[in-house]
């Protein structure tokens, strides 16, 4: 009387347990990550539907984001070019790129805080790898970034700026961003599910980081104090992607700082995820 649909293979066999022992938990965490990879199509669809839902009923759809970014870049461009006494022709491409990339990073950080709590009803009613929720935040924001890239392209075309082949260096750096993004959304997602007063703290940290990380001003404006920026991971992580796209190769020190920051983030996230994965369902 009904169709015999084939059954999923990844749920065909399961041992449900947890353990206070670290190495058992580590194995379970690895299993979680592996099964999330098998569900990549679900992850992609969830991310896409997230965006669709946000803009359901609006004519422009996700291009609202592009429009608001364009307005932000336009208005800030004129304002700060005047304030900093800079040539708009040189400043605007820099600002467009900076703002689009920073908005991506900043949204990634703040949405990481709700990677699990926003999916509470799903977590409580169906067993899914927790990694899936982490990856969903990253994929969703990459799609949004894809819409905002239009702003950069339009500014560059209008002002006839072209970064050259150096731009290709941004690709491996961006892949590093994706890894760091997943690590971040697992870590902050778990922390914020347990401690509900963390998101506002993260919010103010990101606001401060925006001003101190050479997003709207050029690092060279610090003159002899420029080296201080190397100790600001927000700056170095931004710079490894932004620099090449402006046609500048970041210094080795910048790469080293960004690399160390990402590594530390990934290690912390792996430890925390291993420790908390089995508890997240109780916390959300």
């Amino acid at each position: 009387m009904h169709h015999h649909l084939p059954l999923a293979t990844h749920t065909a066999s399961l041992d449900i347990t947890s353990s206070p022992r670290f190495w058992v938990r580590a194995q379970l965490a690895v299993r979680d990550v592996r099964s999330a990879f098998q569900l990549w199509r679900l992850c992609w669809t969830l991310s896409w539907l997230d965006i669709k839902l946000r803009y359901r009923g609006s004519v422009l759809g996700p291009f609202w984001l592009t429009l608001s970014t364009a307005l932000m870049v336009g208005s800030m461009g004129f304002l700060y070019a005047a304030l900093f006494h800079m040539d708009l022709h040189a400043y605007l491409p820099f600002l467009a790129l900076s703002i689009v990339l920073w908005n991506f990073l900043s949204a990634l950080v703040s949405e990481s805080c709700t990677s699990f709590t926003a999916a509470d009803s799903m977590i409580r009613s169906i067993r899914m790898p927790f990694m899936l929720y982490g990856a969903r935040v990253v994929v969703r924001n990459v799609v949004i970034l894809g819409h905002n890239v239009v702003v950069i392209v339009v500014v560059d075309l209008l002002l006839q700026v072209w970064p050259g082949v150096t731009a290709l260096l941004a690709i491996p750096a961006f892949l590093l961003w994706l890894v760091a993004g997943v690590a971040l959304s697992l870590m902050l997602g778990a922390l914020c599910a347990r401690f509900r007063d963390i998101p506002p703290i993260i919010g103010s940290v990101m606001q401060m980081a925006f001003f101190v990380s050479a997003v709207i001003w050029r690092p060279s404006q610090l003159n002899q104090h420029e080296w201080l920026l190397l100790f600001n991971p927000f700056y170095t992580i931004l710079e490894v992607v932004r620099g090449p796209l402006l046609g500048e190769v970041p210094s080795l020190a910048v790469y080293a700082s960004a690399g160390v920051a990402t590594l530390v983030l990934c290690l912390m996230s792996a430890l925390l995820f291993t420790r908390t994965r089995g508890r997240i369902a109780f916390w959300v």
Binding site: H3, A12, S13, I123
Partner: protein, 251 residues
């Protein structure tokens, strides 16, 4: 693969977080000033399940009875792999599907069709199979044009129909079910019953939590009576049900 569901020595403590336990600031301050509360972290821990043991094989239809807060739903969630017990183990062989809460992890902002697609993807179906799934669910749940509208505007009966159709369209070898599905209208209950019996007849495992004695008598071959997270009785439906009903306060 032959279906099997085994719970061995399952213990589950359910931490309840409230007020200060949710706050990082308060937690840090407390550990710094050394004024430690009840269990050290001002958490209330409910002993939700204690030493749960059973083994189910194809054809077994287990009914769970017990008062509110006895641990029936928690046990179903452990069997579904949502809560992981710190002690003990649940072993599932065969595909598993759980109908646990009326929304079933559906996103109520999304349309019925989008929710069907997500469920299909979760079970690893390809696009052609997902289309088939959507047809099957649409015809069984009888939602008509509502299928393309957000689940948010569905009546509770329609949500139940969609959830039931969806959970039973992807045929699991092990089906876990909470009592809420009985909330469907009488006409739907007949259809649901036919579909569910069709599924259980395929030598699969059913675990059902319910308050209704007649449902247990009709559907179950074995009953476990849970009381405060402990198995009070385990056996044939008539025996356990008689014990349970005679102990039930006010019954």
């Amino acid at each position: 693969m032959r279906a099997e569901l085994v719970a061995s020595h399952v213990d589950l403590d359910f931490p309840l977080y409230h007020g200060n336990a949710r706050s990082l600031k308060k937690t840090v301050l407390k550990s710094v000033t050394g004024r430690l509360g009840d269990d050290g972290r001002s958490r209330v821990v409910v002993q939700a399940l204690r030493d749960i043991n059973f083994r189910l094989q194809p054809g077994d239809r287990l009914g769970l009875v017990g008062g509110n807060g006895a641990g029936k739903t928690t046990l179903l969630r452990v069997l579904a792999g949502i809560y992981e017990p710190l002690r003990g183990e649940v072993r599932v062989r065969g595909t598993l599907n759980a109908l646990l809460d009326p929304n079933l992890g559906m996103n109520i902002e999304l349309s019925g069709r989008e929710n069907i697609m997500l469920r299909g993807l979760y079970h690893g179906l390809d696009p052609a199979q997902i289309r088939k799934l959507a047809d099957d669910v649409a015809s069984f749940a009888d939602l008509g044009d509502f299928l393309d509208l957000p689940v948010r505007i569905f009546s509770s009966g329609m949500v139940v129909r969609l959830g039931f159709a969806l959970a039973t369209a992807i045929r699991p070898q092990v089906l876990l079910m909470d009592e809420w599905f009985l909330a469907g209208d009488a006409n739907f209950m007949e259809k649901a019953r036919a579909r569910l019996e069709d599924m259980v007849r395929g030598a699969e495992i059913l675990v059902l939590s319910t308050h209704l004695p007649n449902v247990i008598m009709d559907w179950c071959t074995r009953v476990i009576w849970l009381d405060e997270g402990v198995i009070r009785a385990d056996g044939m439906p008539e025996e356990v049900l008689t014990q349970y009903l005679s102990h039930k306060p006010g019954a």
